[in-house]
C-alpha cells in the first residue's frame, strides 16, 4: 500500500507539473491515467481507463487560468482506486466525477494562497531584493507540487479501505446505470466543446463531421484467399481519415478567407492616417 501511495502521490504531482509546464496537454486522462497504470503494474487497464475517462471529460478544458473542474485529480484518483482495488470502470467513473469537483475547491484555495503572496512579491522588488523574489517564486512552486504529492499519498494511504467499503456498498442497479451514463456522458463533453466552437455560420461543418463519422462505411480488406479479396464493412471512417478530410476543408476555408480579406484591404488606401479619411470611414458602412 505504501508503494501504491507513493506512486499515486508522484503521479498527481507530476500531472500538476505537466498541466502547467509547456501546454503539453499531458495531464489529460488519456495520457496521465495510462502512465499511472504502467507505474501501478496495470498497463492495459490504465490505458483503457484513461480512454474511458477522457471520453467523459472531453469538454472540460482549463483555459486562461479558469478550471471548471479538476478532471486530472478526479481521473487519477478514480482510476487509482479502481486499479488498486481491482474494481471496474463504473466505480472509476463514480469516484472521478465527485472528486474532480472537490479538486476545484482545493485549486481555488491554492490560488487564494498564491494571490495573498502577490503583495510580498511586489515588496521584494520595491526593496530591490531580487534574491528573495526569486526564492519566493521557487518556494511557492515547490509548495504547490508538495501539496499535491502529499494529497495523492495521503488519500491512498488513508482512503483505500473506506473507498473499498463504498464501492462494495454500491447496489447493482446503480452500477448498471453508471454503464448507461458512460455512454451518454461524452455528449456533455462534446456539447461543451461545441459551445466553445459554435458560430451560426459554421454550423454545417459540425453536421458534415457527424455525417462522415456516422454514415460512411469503409471497405476494409480482411482476408485474401486464393487471390480473392474479401472485403467487409468493418468500421466507419476512422477519425484519422476524417481529420485528413477536415484538414483539406479547413485549408480551403483559410485560403478563401485570405483572398477575401485581401480584396477588402485593397479598398482601403494604406496611407489613410490623416484625420479626414479616418473620420469619413467611421461614418461609412
Amino acid at each position: 500500500m505504501l508503494m501504491n501511495a507513493l506512486i499515486v502521490g508522484f503521479v498527481v504531482a507530476f500531472a500538476k507539473f505537466i498541466d502547467w509546464w509547456g501546454s503539453t496537454q499531458l495531464s489529460r486522462p488519456i495520457f496521465i491515467v495510462a502512465v499511472l497504470g504502467i507505474l501501478l503494474g496495470h498497463p492495459t487497464e490504465g490505458i483503457i481507463l484513461g480512454a474511458q475517462l477522457e471520453l467523459i471529460f472531453l469538454g472540460n478544458i482549463s483555459m486562461g487560468g479558469v478550471m471548471p473542474s479538476d478532471i486530472t485529480l478526479g481521473s487519477i484518483f478514480g482510476a487509482a482506486f479502481a486499479m488498486i482495488l481491482g474494481s471496474n470502470l463504473e466505480s472509476a467513473i463514480a469516484l472521478a466525477v465527485p472528486i474532480s469537483m472537490l479538486g476545484t475547491l482545493l485549486y481555488s484555495l491554492m490560488k487564494m494562497v498564491i494571490t495573498s503572496l502577490v503583495p510580498r512579491f511586489e515588496k521584494h522588488i520595491r526593496d530591490r531584493n531580487y534574491k528573495s523574489f526569486n526564492r519566493l517564486w521557487h518556494l511557492q512552486f515547490w509548495g504547490f507540487e508538495l501539496t499535491y504529492f502529499l494529497l495523492g499519498f495521503l488519500v491512498i494511504i488513508a482512503g483505500t479501505d473506506a473507498v473499498n467499503a463504498l464501492i462494495q456498498a454500491i447496489p447493482d442497479w446503480v452500477q448498471k446505470s453508471m454503464t448507461v451514463a458512460s455512454t451518454i456522458l461524452p455528449a456533455i463533453g462534446l456539447a461543451l466543446l461545441l459551445k466553445m466552437l459554435w458560430q451560426k455560420s459554421l454550423a454545417p461543418y459540425y453536421f458534415l463531421g457527424f455525417g462522415l463519422g456516422a454514415f460512411f462505411f469503409y471497405q476494409k480488406a480482411t482476408t485474401v484467399t486464393k487471390g480473392v479479396v474479401t472485403a467487409q464493412p468493418t468500421n466507419i471512417l476512422s477519425l484519422v481519415q476524417i481529420a485528413f478530410i477536415g484538414f483539406i476543408i479547413a485549408a480551403l476555408v483559410v485560403m478563401a478567407e485570405l483572398k477575401n480579406s485581401k480584396k477588402k484591404n485593397e479598398h482601403i488606401p494604406t496611407n489613410s492616417t490623416s484625420m479626414d479619411d479616418e473620420s469619413e470611414d467611421f461614418f461609412n458602412d
Binding site: 503583495p119 511586489e122 515588496k123 520595491r126 484625420m275 479616418e278 473620420s279 470611414d281 467611421f282 461614418f283
Partner: protein
Amino acid sequence: MISMIRIDDRLVHGQVAVKWSKQLGISRIVVVSDTIPKNEIQVSALKMAAPAGVKVAVLDLDKAVNILNDPRSKDMKILVVTNEPKYVAELLPRLNEKPLLNMANYGRIGGLLSDKKKITETVYLSQEDTICLQSIFDDGYDFNYQPLPDDTAQSLKKLIGG
C-alpha cells in the same frame, strides 16, 4: 449617440467587447487615447478584437470629440472606451450629451497593486485616479461598476466612499 463610456485596462477585448456590443446594440467603438493612435500594433490589435459588424476607431481626444459631436453620430450607437480616467474627465464637459459611465478591469496594469486601493475584485485605484474620479463625481456623474451585462450594476461612488 453614446451608449456608454467605459474605462478598462484592456480596452476592447474578448467577451467584454462581444457581450456589451450585443447588449447595447453597438455599431461603433471609439477608443480614446492620446498615445495609442501612434502605436500601429495596438491599433491593429484593437481593430481585430472588435466583434463582427462593429467598426473601431482609435482617436486622440480632440478627434474623438469632433466625431462624437458630429451630427451623423446621432443615429449610431457608439461605445467609447479608454484606459485612463483623465480622458473621461476631459471628454465629458466637451460632449453634447450626458452618457452612461462604466468602469471595470481597471488598475491592474501600470504600477504595483500594493500602491493602490482595492475597490472591487477588478478595480484598483491610485491616489491620482481617486482625485480624477472625484472631479467627475463633483460634476454630477457616477460610474456603474459592472464588468459584464449579466452582473448587477453598483455605484462606483458608493464603493469608493464606503
